[in-house]
């Protein structure tokens, strides 16, 4: 934990290398008549890789900018390591940012860019430390170049080194991989994660790429319309979404509206357009009345009508609208009477894929179902980017 304190005026003291807890208390940010962040309360424990995930306009970047001190919250408090920094200007905060545009100083060499923060703090061995940071991102051989002479991926790594070298209490990453191509992105994701593990700092990563968030973060907070919809470990969020937005934005989901008709003790049965679907109570928000039953596409098995299936499984029957063979698997869109289109796929185990127009059975074990509030919009977050 943090032991040093930041002086209120002038330059701050060096922070413990392990980062510090970050706490947002009832933070709201309004721009004119638009509420970008709405009463957000959030604690990020020290040393965590934390991802703020959401579509554009959800308030994630505004949240990040408020932590950095680049925006002032309309109300609420921000504290780092137990110290209230709400009123501090960005240059007084022990926080560094990797900007989406990198924002490298074009008139300075790569080395001068990386040493900039250390020099401002009056660190004596700023140049050797900047060199060490460049070594960490494997760019020491480009130290004397100007930023324009570097590729996008190299610039990204300089931006990362420039922020990391200061050992901030909290490192903020604003869509840092957004400008890179897919292959470089994957590579940088792995690198970022390993650097974070190595230095043990608190990372706050803003992204709209759910795969990126899930690959790297210890904790993911899904944001929508200025609020956190759900927060947790990537696997928990994926396996048990609590809202339709999370179910659709984080991966894909099939959501079916229905009414709870039976109480089975630790499970409930839902009637969805005549289909009896069972889901465990501890995986459902709704235990009575209207409910939405959800299931992830990969949890379903696609069977031909004569195939046997477990009698305890949930089962839907429908007509194949579209089947696309991708090699590893075949992806299906299946029209189910009264429910709509269900997306699913079956792994290629050598079985012949179903054809368009075929009638198929889709089954899944009840423990894979999740239940949402009946008032949820089944399409929420589906097209959000």
């Amino acid at each position: 934990m943090m032991t040093t304190t930041t002086s209120l005026k002038g330059k701050a003291q060096p922070m413990a290398a392990s980062g510090a807890d970050l706490h947002l208390g009832n933070v709201t940010k309004r721009f004119a008549d638009f509420t970008a962040v709405d009463d957000l309360t959030l604690t990020v424990p020290s040393g965590t890789f934390f991802a703020l995930l959401g579509p554009s306009g959800c308030g994630k970047t505004t949240t990040l900018r408020m932590i950095a001190g680049l925006e002032q919250p309309t109300s609420g408090t921000i504290s780092i390591g137990g110290q209230d920094v709400t009123k501090l200007a960005s240059y007084q905060r022990q926080v560094n940012t990797v900007f989406q545009s990198y924002a490298l100083f074009p008139h300075m060499s790569v080395l001068d860019n990386v040493a900039f923060g250390l020099k401002r703090k009056g660190v004596k061995d700023s140049v050797p430390r900047a060199k060490a940071a460049l070594e960490m991102v494997e760019l020491e051989h480009l130290a004397s170049r100007k930023p324009v002479q570097l590729s996008g991926g190299q610039q990204q790594r300089v931006a990362l080194a420039r922020a990391l070298v200061n050992r901030p209490a909290v490192l903020l990453l604003d869509e840092p991989l957004g400008a890179l191509d897919m292959k470089l992105r994957r590579q940088m994701q792995v690198e970022l994660k390993s650097i974070q593990t190595e230095v043990g700092l608190t990372f706050i990563h803003v992204t709209h790429d759910q795969e990126e968030a899930m690959t790297m973060a210890d904790t993911v907070a899904v944001m929508n319309k200025g609020k956190i919809e759900q927060m947790g470990a990537p696997r928990d969020l994926y396996e048990l979404p609590k809202t339709a937005f999370v179910a659709n934005f984080l991966g894909k989901s099939n959501l079916m509206h229905g009414t709870v008709t039976e109480d089975l003790g630790d499970a409930v049965a839902v009637n969805a357009a005549g289909h009896r679907l069972v889901m465990p109570k501890d995986r459902s928000v709704a235990h009575s009345g209207a409910a939405v039953v959800g299931v992830r596409p990969e949890k379903m098995r696609v069977l031909n009508l004569p195939d046997e299936y477990s009698p305890s499984a949930n089962m839907l029957t429908g007509t194949v609208l579209d089947a696309s063979f991708t090699g590893v698997s075949t992806e299906y869109l299946v029209e189910v009477q009264g429910i709509g289109t269900i997306g699913t796929f079956s792994q290629n185990m050598g079985q012949p894929p179903a054809q368009r127009g075929d009638t198929v059975r889709m089954t899944w074990e009840p423990e894979f179902s999740f239940g949402l509030d009946g008032a949820e919009e089944a399409s929420a977050g589906r097209d959000a980017v």
């Binding site: 001190g69 545009s101 924002a103 100083f105 008139h107 900039f116 923060g117």
Partner: protein, 314 residues
Amino acid sequence: MTATGSRPRNKKKPASVHLRSEEELAAERRKRRVGLYLIIPGMAVLALFFAAPVLVLLSMSLYARPPGAEIGEFVPALEFGNYVTVIGAYWDVFLRSFFFALIATVAALLIGYPMAYLVAVRLRGRQLMQGILLVLLIAPFFSSFILRTQAWKQILSDEGPVVTVLRAIAILPADGHLTATAFAVVCGLTYNFLPFMMLPIYANLDRLDTNLLEASGDLYASPLTTFFKVTLPLSMPGVFAGTLLTFIPAAGDYVNAALLGNNRDTAMIGQIIDSRFFKVVDYPGASALSFILMILILALVMIYIKRFGTKELF
């Protein structure tokens, strides 16, 4: 406009491996010819309105006055003594001119930079405010240079508001003046050339990426440090162009000195050249002075470019 240093020419391309056909070569030759044709008008204008007058000036500066000639009567000669004479007589005026121009340039920079910064950076995204301010700054220049300088004479006159106030608060003695002083001349120069300072800086700061300012603040630089470490270095090309565009005309200006100065200790070289041409009718002397002024400005600008040239900035 101004000399900001020539860019290095493109090096010749290495001989291409594949042999080009006759048609390709002909097309290339044609392209090159078209390029040459296109610079002809520009060259012609320069030759007619710059090179020719300079040559006339140079030759006239060497004319001699034959014994017993009438006023204004000179004959072609190689009278280098003209240069010795005018330098001997007016070296102090040259010094003063450059000194006044320097002070005016620095003052215009100190006034123009913050104004440019306000409009280009602080008001970024507020186009209405930006437009209004820019028009306000430029509008006075739709009226005559001489009229505006004349107005300054009124403003700084003994009965004017500035002198009254300065006398009242005892900054100026009760019998002190502002008109007919060096101060008035420098004020006039600063005012008249301010837009030439401000506009290039504005054009430069308008392109400044404000993300860089945020990044600087994020990296522990106070707003003042950010200005000196990021904003100012990045705007140096604008400052460079602005100072040249201010200094060069200010050094040769005579209107401000004539209207706002006196006849004793505020004369600028432009004024001397003016009076030698039109009052004393000493064409060779006036030409020699003009030529010296041109060479000196050129030399100063060359030194300035060598010393502070911003080509290497990026």
